[in-house]
Amino acid sequence: MEFYLPNLMAKIVNNGIITGNQAYILSMGFRMLIVSILAGISMVIISYHSSRASIGFSKDIRQDIFGHITKFSIGEFHDLGTSSLITRTTNDVNQIEMVFLMFLRMMIRAPFMLVGGLIMAINKNAKLSLVLAVSMPILLAIIYIAGKKGIPMFKIVQEKIDGLNLVLREKLTGVRVIRAFSREDYEEVRFDNRNQELSGANLKVDRLIQSLFPIINLVLNFTIVGVLWFGSEQVDMGNMEVGDIMAFIQYVMMIMFSLIMFSAIFIIVPRAVASADRIVEIMNIDPTILVDNSGEEIEQIESIVFKDVGFKYPEAEEKVLSDLNFSVDKGQTLAIIGGTGSGKTTLINLIPRFYDITSGEILINGKELRKYNLKEIRGRIGFVPQKAVLFSGDIKSNLKVGKRDASLEEMERAARISQAEEFINTLENKYDSLVAQGGKNFSGGQKQRLTIARALIRDSDVFIFDDSFSALDFKTDAKLRKALKEEVSDAIKIIVAQRVSSIMDADKILVLNKGKIAGLGRHKELMDSCEVYREIVESQAMEGE
């Protein structure tokens, strides 16, 4: 519709002004008014649908990708990396949304403007359109060259920014060390180098981009000058009228602008493509372990038996765990001890099926673990991970993660056993105290006790503690173990620990060394029979105490 306006304008000039027809001018003016109102309305409609479509599109992507990632098992999280998954769900989706919106707004218009403008221009005067045949390629060439030179420069700038961030982040996190060694000056030089590099890179790319504007403008203006010159000749030859030149200039502007718009899209689209690739990559990965409602129901976990269990991470060459044979029954405490990399955490991750074993069998109540409904199995296990993770909210909402409908009495009981009660009661708002993201407002030991309480609240049949007492002092550790023994006597307790004192009194101690069982038995037995165990005990300077 917008193409029509210059045309009408030309008519006013050609038929109205030159011939002196006032009524004609008025009627054309009226027609222009109607045309522009119609154009306005249609643009509103386009804008409504394009915003709905692009935002709806990103909403759907977000929903799909989050739903999909939620289904991932621990293995996938481990392989892909949590932070990468986060950026894919947030930044990458945003990037696509932005580009899609621009695409709908501009791209739909740009080709129409280009084609429409060209048709109208050629229609007005084909010969004069030859001016465009010169200026359009020049414009495209300029944009192409700028893109080709600019894109690698942008990459370099990004690298320099990362470099500066790295140095600064190290400086901020290591401030004590830097000051302790009095290396402030050295650090300043390090930062200054990065700072100079970044400024240099920025200067280059900015000057390139900034030079683009005047150059493009110049091409545009010279085109108009060309149109005026050759247009005058055409008028002289009687091939076109004066008003048409004015219309023609408008068309030329439209064409050139649409080209610039196109090129802008070509700069942004590759970014969206990179984001889209990263999202598609995620969507193509199927979760290895699916949590659904299939499988046999289970009332209570009474025994866990490992039979020749072996486990190998996908794509790893060597087994992490092999030939594991042991059992643990209701009411018993099984402790697992061993050096880092001996496979302790991997072992306990097999019980709630965070990973599936690659050989052997795990039997629950005498039946294979995989035959059971996984949701119910996980529902019967109270799990305390190595890293104490809390969610933002309050203490109550965090404890309710363990049991959705937990009452205050239940919370208090769990807190009492986990030795969290004492510090919760010193908080002003007690159980309603706010928990910041990641539980930052609590100390390591407090967080650990809360995660223990969260697991205890579940009335589970199995409790798994993955090195969960490490941030507790000896005294609290001892109290907690005593309370556990008394209060949850019926359950199976599996404790991974570094500290010998935490596990000395377990019913069974499993000594893990390089993925194999190096010893299995009580403290005294192992002291006599197991070399590895003795070594651990000695390293902790407990001998003879």
Partner: protein, 606 residues
């Protein structure tokens, strides 16, 4: 470690409409940074004006061509003449020349401005960095790394963009508005009035729309922040999500927020998207009015046809900078808010440092004395009151206590990361407040639980402890620290580059490297943190051996977890709730049957 939350910062950034609390003051301060480039900026200013004047005159000159053309046609029709091509050529040559000059000026202006901007930004970043070295540790403890980082990168970046684009834009806008108005008035008063009348109309429309959409933009940025936080939490706590079967609940919560985000986003987008069609319509209205009225005026021979043509262009050029002014104002506001955040760092109180040392700590044997020391992190809560300890050269001091007892407080005081409120800390007879912090810290070596290493080679990391350390010195220290063995098993040995956060070596190995780093500085006094909970037993044996070596012949302060260290210590400081509640050696403390006695026995309570 905190501060690894880029997504959160992004979410905050999206709120955008931040207002500065002291707009004028901050602006003035920002301008001060530009003041050293006065000359360049004046040139930029002149160039911008020149470049714009030519663009403003352009349409009027173009109009001359059209008018001449029409005259020629008339003459031709009357048979009395023809189109004056010589005249037209001249005009077009002038026009082309003007455009060329305008482009050259514009290019020069941008070239200069880019240079100035980068220099200012470089200075700003440098100043912030230098300031950071002068800030007390308190500042670091109270502010999040992510926040400071975001100020140095995002906020400084915003200022850079604003300087580069907004400032010339502002000049251009003003020049264009004034210039175009002058040109329009020179052509026709009545046509000018019509064009100017349209402006309040479009202004009002934009303002209304902006206000309408703002509501949705706020909901949008809030829900986006919420959504990102949820994603971050659920992904980083994914094993909890699995273990506790939270998948469905998490998905429900996500979908709910996502829906809110969707609704507010598309409304915000749509409403703000209305500005364009409305502006176009208003523009077109002016265009039509100019065309029709201009037509009449030409008929009445009040103006020429070329003037009408010029006028249609002027009316467009006139509204554009006005429409853009809303954007410019927003950008300036956001920029000032950013600048304020950056300046806030520069305004923090610096540590007071003496300029002339009244004593020196060149030959320290390692006698440390606390005399009536009082200290508190904040005034309301006294932490250490009237503390007196005496440590003889070569002594080992064990600091024990439950988690969160504030054992690092003592380290903070010894290293003067924090200053004591009253009393004296005396090293070999020298009051530590009589020497600079730098000289004091040279006396100490420190191995903390937080194994900070930087991205760089192992050699550089160990050598960090001593300026210009040679490779043989590094190797020697590394041997004492028991790290030589594992380094040699690495493919590149000492030149192995540690990644960010040294993720390519184990926690225990990191610890060994930090010990080596402390050894190479060969300090008379050592501060050690023994915690090794995440280290496997074999490495632990090595660490223990290394620590023992480090402590030999030195005064050592050890945050102790190991009984052997504690029992053999010459002095045990028992801490609880930030205070030193007991001190003495093992035998004395056991006899006292106090807190230490309980702590010690609880180890065997099970």
């Amino acid at each position: 470690m905190t501060g690894k939350t880029p997504t959160r910062n992004k979410a905050k950034e999206n709120i955008g409409m931040e207002k500065a609390t002291n707009f004028k003051g901050t602006l003035r301060r920002l301008i001060k940074y530009l003041a050293s480039y006065k000359l360049a900026l004046i040139v930029v200013f002149i160039l911008t004006i020149l470049s714009n004047i030519f663009t403003v005159i352009g349409p009027k000159v173009m109009g001359l061509v059209t008018t001449k053309l029409l005259d020629g046609i008339r003459l031709k029709a009357e048979g009395t003449g023809s189109i004056n091509f010589g005249y037209i050529r001249n005009i077009l040559l002038i026009l082309g020349g003007m455009y060329l000059l305008s482009a050259v000026f514009s290019y020069l202006q941008r070239y200069l401005m880019t240079g100035v901007t980068q220099k200012v930004i470089y200075t700003l970043r440098k100043e912030v960095d230098e300031k950071l070295s002068k800030l007390p540790l308190k500042y670091y403890d109270e502010n999040q790394v992510g926040d400071i980082l975001s100020r140095v990168t995002n906020d400084v970046d915003k200022i850079s963009t604003a300087l580069q684009q907004t400032v010339p834009q502002l000049i251009t806008s003003v020049v264009t508005i004034v210039g175009v108005l002058v040109m329009m008035l020179s052509i026709s008063l009545s046509l000018s009035i019509i064009t100017v009348l349209v402006i309040p109309l479009s202004f009002l429309a934009t303002k209304r729309i902006a206000k309408l959409s703002q509501k949705y933009f706020i909901i949008q940025s809030n829900s986006l922040g919420k959504l990102n936080a949820h994603i971050e939490e659920m992904y980083s706590g994914h094993n909890i999500v699995k273990a506790f079967g939270m998948e469905d609940k998490s998905k429900e919560e996500f979908d709910e927020t996502n829906e809110t985000l969707y609704k507010s986003s598309y409304r915000a987008e749509f409403i703000s998207g209305l500005i364009r069609p409305i502006m176009t319509l208003v523009d077109n209205l002016a265009y039509i009015a100019v065309a029709v009225l201009g037509g009449f005026l030409v008929l009445k021979q009040r103006i020429s046809i070329g003037d009408v043509q010029a006028f249609t262009q002027y009316s467009k050029e006139f509204t554009q900078p006005i429409v853009r002014s809303a954007d410019i104002i927003n950008t300036i506001q956001a920029t000032i808010a950013s600048a304020e955040r950056v300046f806030a760092i520069l305004d923090e109180d610096e540590i007071f440092e003496i300029t002339r040392e009244e004593a020196n700590l060149d030959r320290v044997k390692g006698r440390v004395e606390f005399k009536n020391v009082c200290f508190s992190y904040n005034k309301d809560e006294k932490l250490i009151e009237d503390m007196n300890i005496l440590v003889e050269p070569g002594d080992t001091v064990a600091i024990v206590g439950p988690t969160g007892a504030g054992k690092t407080t003592l380290v903070n005081l010894l290293m003067r990361f924090y200053d004591i409120d009253s009393g004296q800390i005396i090293i070999d007879g020298v009051d530590v407040s009589n020497v600079t912090r730098q000289s004091l810290r040279k006396v100490f070596g420190m191995v903390l639980q937080d194994t900070w290493l930087f991205k760089g080679s192992i050699e550089d990391n160990i050598g960090y402890g001593k300026e210009d350390a040679s490779l043989s010195e590094v190797e020697m220290a590394s041997k004492i620290a028991q790290s030589d063995f594992f380094i040699k098993t690495l493919q590149d040995g000492y030149t192995t580059v540690l990644e960010e956060d040294a993720d390519n070596i184990s926690q225990g190995q990191k610890q060994l490297l930090t010990i080596a780093r402390a050894i190479i500085s060969n300090p008379p006094i050592m501060i050690l943190d023994e915690a090794t909970s995440s280290v496997d037993t074999r490495t632990e044996v090595l660490i223990q051996k290394a620590m023992k070596k480090v402590m030999e012949g030195r005064t050592s302060f050890v945050i102790a977890h190991r009984l052997s260290t504690i029992k053999n210590a010459d002095l045990i400081l028992v801490m609880k709730d930030g205070k030193i509640i007991e001190q003495g050696n093992h035998i004395n403390l056991m006899k006292a049957q106090g807190f230490y006695y309980d702590l010690y026995n609880s180890q065997f309570a099970a």
